[in-house]
Each structure stands twice: as C-alpha cells, then as structure tokens.
C-alpha cells in the first residue's frame, strides 16, 4: 500500500509551481543568452588573441596612422605604428583579469566582514559596520584615486585602490542577508543539534547569501572595468606603452579628429565589456530567481 507520505507532496508542490502559469520556456534568444555567447567569444579572443595576431603589442608593426582594413591591419595602426586590434585584445585581457580579481577579492572580503558582523551581532556588528560606513561615506572613485596616487600609478595599485573602495557594498548586502538567515529555523535547528560558531556560520548561513553576492558581483564587473579604465585614462594605471584600454583611449584622444580609430576602438571595447557583464548579471539573477534561490 502506498503511504500518503509519498503521495502528498507532489500534489501541492506541483499545484503552486504550475499555477504561477509558467509553462516550460521554449528555447528563445534572450539578451542574456546573447551576452553569454558574447562573453565566451570575448574571453576566447582575449586569451588566444595575442597568439592569433601576427603582431606584437609593443613593437611597431606598420606605418603609423593606417586606417582600418588597410595594409593587413583590421583596426588600423596608431600614431607609433602599433596594430590597434592586437593592443585592444591584449587590453581586453588585462581588463578582464583585473576586473575579475578586483571584484572577486572585494566580494570575498565584503562577504567575510558582513557575514561576521551579521552573524555575531552586538558590538562586533556595530564596529564592523561603522568601519564600512566610513568607507561608503566618501565618493568611491576619489578615494580610489587618492590610494593609487599614494601607492604610485600602476595597474596593481589601481586594482588595490578599487578593491578597497568596493568591498563595503558587499559587506552591507551580506550583513543584512546573514542577519535574516541567522534567525531562520534551519539555523536554529542546526544550533540545537550542537553546531556552533564558525561552522554554523559557514555551513548553515553563508550559502544563503551566495546567490545575491554572485549576482551583485557579476553586475559589478562592468562597473569595475569602467573604473579601471577611468583610472588608466587619467594616467593612474600602467605607464605607456602598456596596452591598457583606458590609457590607449586617453593617449589617442589627440588624434580623434584625424585618426578616430586610435581612441575609439579601445573605448568601444570598454563599453562592450561592461554591457556584456551587465546583461550576464541580469541573466544570472533571473536564473537564480527561477530556481527559487
């Protein structure tokens, strides 16, 4: 005889999920799938580009000021005769790498600080959150600029500077969610079963914040790419002739009228990268929401 224990749950669960009126989605081309495909292409190009390209990033490879699609240079050459496409691909790689490291690092730091604050509560919470507020009180880009200026302009300093101003955001998010999760029944039940301290926090509460942090992080990568480029644009990134997108567009600005491709293509690359990550974050959010996470 089948017990009702086995039959009861399929019913209500199926009822609620399907009464929401969402039939299995047909495969459709959404901005998110396009973004995912674009990201795959961009990552592949960035990783393999320098290998595929016959030119080097720091050696002149042709006549200066060649227009796009001339003389074997798809995106033309710059004022020194460097191949623009090769440098844009190399710059994309640097941007991607730097943005991932900065976002990952600040998300991790913020998550840790926010989780401890939210989980422990009391004076620890107050102390950590006041420190967080202190960072949030100043305009992020200005603080980052000050830090980079103090450390000496380079890609590494820009990454450190941005990470320092970026983590408080994650701390805020993580703290709120952890506080809510810490009061939930399964955490109480785990505590009753004898689990305490760091183990209770890491195993039973932190995973609830992961979807939110992941979505926020993926939406933020675009912003970090822009900020990195901005710092490089005002001369706080690696010194020339490093193939950095922000630096390339700022150095190329003086040729905008005669040889527009020199500053425009690096700028377009920055914009595209940010756009791709924005759509990707949106997509990730809807996927996680659909899963009920």
């Amino acid at each position: 005889m089948p017990s009702s224990a086995e039959t009861d749950a399929s019913g209500p669960a199926a009822t609620t999920s399907s009464s929401a009126g969402a039939p299995r989605a047909r495969r459709k081309v959404t901005p998110e799938t396009v973004a995912l495909a674009a990201l795959v292409i961009v990552v592949l190009l960035a990783l393999l580009g320098p290998l595929l390209s016959p030119y080097a990033t720091d050696v002149p490879s042709g006549t200066p000021y060649l227009a796009p699609f001339s003389g074997g240079h798809w995106l033309g050459t710059d004022n020194l005769g460097f191949d623009v496409l090769t440098r844009v691909l190399a710059g994309t790689r640097i941007s991607l790498f730097a943005a991932l490291v900065v976002t990952g690092g600040s998300a991790l730091l913020g998550l840790l600080i926010g989780a401890v604050a939210g989980f422990v509560g009391g004076w620890v919470d107050s102390l950590l959150m006041r420190i967080t507020d202190l960072f949030l009180a100043f305009p992020a880009t200005i603080v980052a600029m000050a830090i980079v200026a103090a450390l000496g302009p380079s890609l590494r300093s820009s990454m450190i500077g941005i990470a320092i101003v970026w983590w408080p955001l994650y701390a805020r998010i993580a703290r709120g969610e952890i506080r809510r999760a810490a009061g939930s029944l399964h955490v109480e039940a785990a505590r009753m079963s004898g689990t305490h301290g760091a183990r209770l926090m890491l195993r039973h509460t932190v995973p609830t914040v992961m979807p939110t942090v992941l979505v926020t992080a993926s939406l933020d990568i675009g912003g970090v790419i822009m900020t990195l480029a901005a710092l490089a644009f005002i001369g706080l990134g690696s010194p020339a002739p490093s193939p950095e997108l922000g630096l390339m567009s700022s150095a190329g600005m003086q040729y905008l009228l005669d040889s527009w491709w020199i500053p425009v293509f690096p700028a377009v690359a920055v914009g595209l990268l940010s756009l791709i990550f924005n759509y990707l974050g949106d997509g990730l959010r809807s996927v996680l929401r659909a899963r009920g996470a």
């Binding site: 224990a5 009861d8 199926a14 039940a189 079963s193």
Partner: protein, 551 residues
C-alpha cells in the same frame, strides 16, 4: 429553484499534473457543501475554478461548465465572469490578513461593498462584532485573527452572493474561536439562503457544518453523499482511512492510532524483530499495544531526577518603541516537571506562552528569573522537532551531512569511526522507516512526510536526554499526522525517551502524552493524566478547550 452552483465535469490540468479530474456536483441555495481532502487533492483548485480565477492562464487548461445561479460559464474563458466573481460568488479565505488590504481601514474596505457607514455597521453587528464603530476605524493588523475572519465574512456576505466559498476559513484560528466562526457561518447561511462551498481538510469541521460532503483524492471525487452517512459509515477505503485517522478524545491511546500504515509498521518490525504481516494483523485486530514496546530498563534507580524541571520561570518581552516601550509578561512563575521516561503535553492556544516554555527548555531563550534544570546524565542534551520540519533542515545540505553533523556533535558519535557512524545513520533511518537512499537527497527532493521523518531521525540519531516537540503534527494532513504520532510513540516506548510535546490539539496531546498540562496566558492552569482527560479537566479554560474539540 435554480441551484446556487452546479459544476459539470470540471477538469483542471496544470502543465505536468492533473489537479482536478472530471468533478461534478450541485449546491442548492441554503445548502452547505463540503469538499474534503488532504493537501494536493485539488479542493482549492476547484474553489478557484468556480470563481473564474483560472481563466486565460498560461499552463492551465480547464474543461467543463460552471453554472452559477442559473448562468452557465466557461471556467477557461474570462467572458461573463466579471459580474459574477466578487458579486454573486464571494470568498472567505484561510488567511484573512493577506486578503484584507493593509492600507485601508475596515470602514473603507466594507464601505466599498456595503455602500454606507450605517450599512457597514449593520454588517459588523451581523457578524457579532461588539464595537463596530471602533472596528470601522481600525486597520486589519490591529484586529485579532478571529475578528479579521469576521470582517472577511461580513465583506463576503455584504454582496448578498448566491454562493459563498469558504476555503479553510478556520484553519488558522484557535479552537475556541473556530467554533464561534463556524456557528456564525451556519447562521448566516440559513438567514441569507446562499449556498456555501466549504473547503476543508478537517473532517470534524466538515461534520459540524456541512449538509453534504464530497471526498476528494488526487482530483477525483471518491465518495459523495450526506455528511452523516459519508463520515459515519464510509465505503471507500480512502475515506475510511481519513475517518480512522481523525483523533478524538475517545481514541484508544494504548495502541497505534489510525489504520495500519506501511512505514510505521516497518519501523515497528525493526524495533521488535518480527514480521511486518504479523504486526499489521495485530494492529488491525487491536491487539498491538504500546506496552509491548517497553524499553528495557538501563538499570539503577532513576526516580527523583526529572528529565526537565522548570521552577518559577518568568519571561517577558519588550514591545513597542519610540517612548511607548513596555514589557509584556509572557510567562508568570511557571513550574513544570517532566519525569524520567514521562511524556508531557503542554496544551494552550496561540499566545499562551507554550512555545516560549519549549524554547526556554531547549535553551534557545533564557528565562528572566527562575531555574531550568535538564537531566544531563545521558549526556546528549535536548533535541527539538519543530512544526515546520521542512524549514528546519538546511536546504543545501544532504540528509547524510545533516545526520552526520548531529552525530559528530554528540558524545556517542565522537567516539565512533567512519563505518560505525554510517551504520548509526542507517539505524536511525530505519527507526523512522526511511530507505537508506534518502541519505544523498536534499530536503527539496523529499516529500513533506519524509522531511518530518528526517527531522525526527536527526533528533534521535543519538537518543537525547529530552525530546521537545513543537506542534510537529499541526501542519500535516490527518493520515500523515497519525503516522508521525505513531512514530513518536514508538520512539518514546522503544527508547524510553522523555518528551515534552507542545500543541493546541487536545486529541493529539492525549495520544502522545501520559499527562496533559493546560496553559493559558502564561500560567499553568492544571495538569491532568491523559487516561481520563475528559473527566479530570476541571478548570474553566480547560473545559472550554475540551468543548471546542467535542463540538
């Protein structure tokens, strides 16, 4: 006379499941028709379909005809429903808080339907609200659950509908309020002569108010007839099981309740080492007694040392804010003792402080003053089984990780190696009649009943020195509740576990506990042995609870 509602071969299919399968019935004006079934049986879906709330929905296909007071309507098309829904068919839902607009006063809400203030006042008086003027100025959150449900009924009746749908209208209410609301619904129905479609999982409630009932299972009506005949003398085996699973104050508490259930029989066989078939026969015959499962005494006199002792426990919480902060006493001088191997049920209505006592005994709250002594000699502390077992299991961990974690945190578990621990888990699962295959499942992959049993298995993987149960059966269907009660009773007798069982249900309390302690407004009113509960309860409050169960 045209029928208030006539449903002809109604079927509702969701994308992957059939919720309602060829259902037909008729409700005459003034008649109360009960749709009875367990969760997932499709009863609420029928309620939605006859209000035209399933029209033009993606993923929902509806067939059949719904005739409201002579007007035939197609439950799959929006056409024609507008003047019917909320006018000739109105609804009282289970949770009045979420169906009343929180931004509007009751006066405005009711005014939209009744027209004038005088008329609104008259309707509030009609539903026996004593101070209508005050209530009209109140917002929904300022009213008690019972008052909100009265307002909902006034709102539903003020339209003078031909059909009133009552979807579990009393499930969220305390037993004593429940009886009043049911009485009110019956009276109004007779006065206004509207048909009532009464949806409930509670056979007792259906018996109290319905003229006719249809028993639903998996979207089909399995039995249909007058209430007296269907529920007193059921023919269908499913109805028989439902009826047998209903606990009353006369259920034999010396033996398992309900009809034999495979899972409970399996774990009993495990405990006693005999054949399933024998047990099932003994159960059916009534010769299977809990006394057969008496745990062997671990030796040594243990009398005098209770498993739990609360002495003069006081607790208050602060409420309000912005200068209006004041403390509300939840418990006043509570003394409670759970003896070694004793099972005590703490019975009271919501807000009585019973859950606070449980949380204090569990160590999840600290009392303001007073002493809490837990017998630590077993060394494994206190375990809790919560009402919402699903939510008490961490969703991203497997059953194995959850049980292993508990085992690793105990004195017993710490001394075991890997294979011994694994063996321990399997024994625990057998005790609650779960297959070893659930070890690698996550809570979302289990049914409600399985989750409840995983929660129990975690609590008893190493027998605790005291098991606390917080309404573990009140969210479950009757047959499932029976099997959980049987399982807990088996563990209690087999392992000799002392238990404190918190509930609002006297009938369930009586089955699981040796002694029932009645609590009201933070004070213990009386303590009576379960064996002659009906006669032994003498306090006014206790008698009121008792009457509510009997009615």
């Amino acid at each position: 006379m045209t029928a208030a509602l006539s449903v002809a071969s109604l079927s509702v299919n969701y994308t992957r499941t059939t919720a309602v399968d060829d259902v037909s019935f008729t409700i005459e004006p003034g008649q109360c028709f009960g749709l009875v079934g367990e969760s997932g049986s499709g009863k609420s879906t029928i309620g939605l379909a006859v209000q035209g709330l399933l029209t033009d929905l993606r993923g929902v296909t509806t067939h059949g005809t719904v005739t409201v007071a002579g007007t035939p309507l197609d439950p799959s098309k929006e056409t024609g429903w507008r003047g019917v829904r909320g006018h000739r068919v109105t609804t009282v839902f289970q949770d009045p808080m979420s169906s009343l607009d929180p931004t509007m006063t009751i006066g405005r809400l009711l005014g939209l339907v009744a027209g004038s203030t005088a008329e609104s006042t008259r309707w509030l008086e009609e539903v026996e609200i004593r101070e209508p003027a005050t209530v009209l100025r109140s917002y929904p959150h300022q009213l008690s659950g019972g008052m909100r449900q009265r307002v909902m009924i006034a709102l539903a009746l003020a339209r003078r509908p031909s059909l009133l749908i009552a979807d579990e209208p009393t499930t969220a209410l305390d037993v004593s309020v429940q009886a009043q609301i049911l009485k009110l619904l019956s009276r109004e129905r007779e006065q206004l002569g509207c048909g009532v479609l009464f949806i409930t999982h509670d056979l007792g409630v259906a018996r109290a108010v319905c003229d006719e009932v249809a028993v639903l299972r998996e979207g089909k009506i399995v039995e249909h007839g007058s209430t007296a005949v269907t529920l007193e003398n059921p023919q269908n085996p499913y109805t028989q099981r439902l009826v047998a699973s209903r606990l009353t104050l006369h259920s034999d508490r010396g033996r398992p309740v309900g009809l034999p259930e495979a899972t409970v029989v399996a774990s009993m066989a495990e405990a006693r080492g005999i054949q399933d078939a024998d047990l099932e026969r003994q159960w059916t015959e009534g010769s299977l007694r809990w006394s057969d499962f008496r745990a062997e005494d671990e030796g040594g006199p243990r009398a005098g040392a209770p498993a739990l002792e609360l002495a003069k426990v006081k607790k208050s919480f602060s409420t309000g804010g912005f200068g209006r902060r004041h403390r509300k006493d939840v418990l006043h001088d509570v003394n409670l003792r759970v003896g070694t191997r004793e099972s005590v049920a703490l019975v009271g209505e919501s807000g009585s402080g019973k859950s606070t006592i449980l949380r204090i005994a569990a160590g999840l709250e600290q009392p303001d003053t007073g002493d809490v002594v837990v017998d630590r000699r077993r060394g494994e502390g206190v375990q809790v089984i919560f009402q919402d077992a699903g939510a008490s299991l961490t969703p991203w961990l497997t059953v194995r990780s959850l049980l292993m974690e508990r085992l690793g945190n105990t004195v017993t578990g710490a001394g075991l190696d890997r294979s011994q621990r694994e063996a321990h888990l399997r024994t625990a699962l057998e005790r609650v009649a779960l297959p070893a295959s659930v070890l690698d499942a996550k809570p979302a992959g289990l049914s409600g009943g399985q989750r409840q049993r995983v929660a129990i298995a975690r609590a008893v993987v190493v027998p605790p020195s005291l098991l606390l149960c917080d309404e573990p059966t009140s969210a479950l269907d009757v047959s499932l509740a029976c099997s959980v009660l049987n399982l807990l009773n088996l563990l209690r007798h087999d392992l000799g576990l002392p238990m404190l069982f918190v509930t609002h249900d006297l009938a369930a309390a009586r089955v699981i506990a040796d002694r029932v302690v009645v609590i009201s407004q933070g004070a213990i009113v009386e303590s009576v042995p379960s064996d002659d509960l009906g006669a032994a309860i003498t306090s006014d409050y206790g008698r009121r609870l008792l009457d509510a169960v009997l009615s």
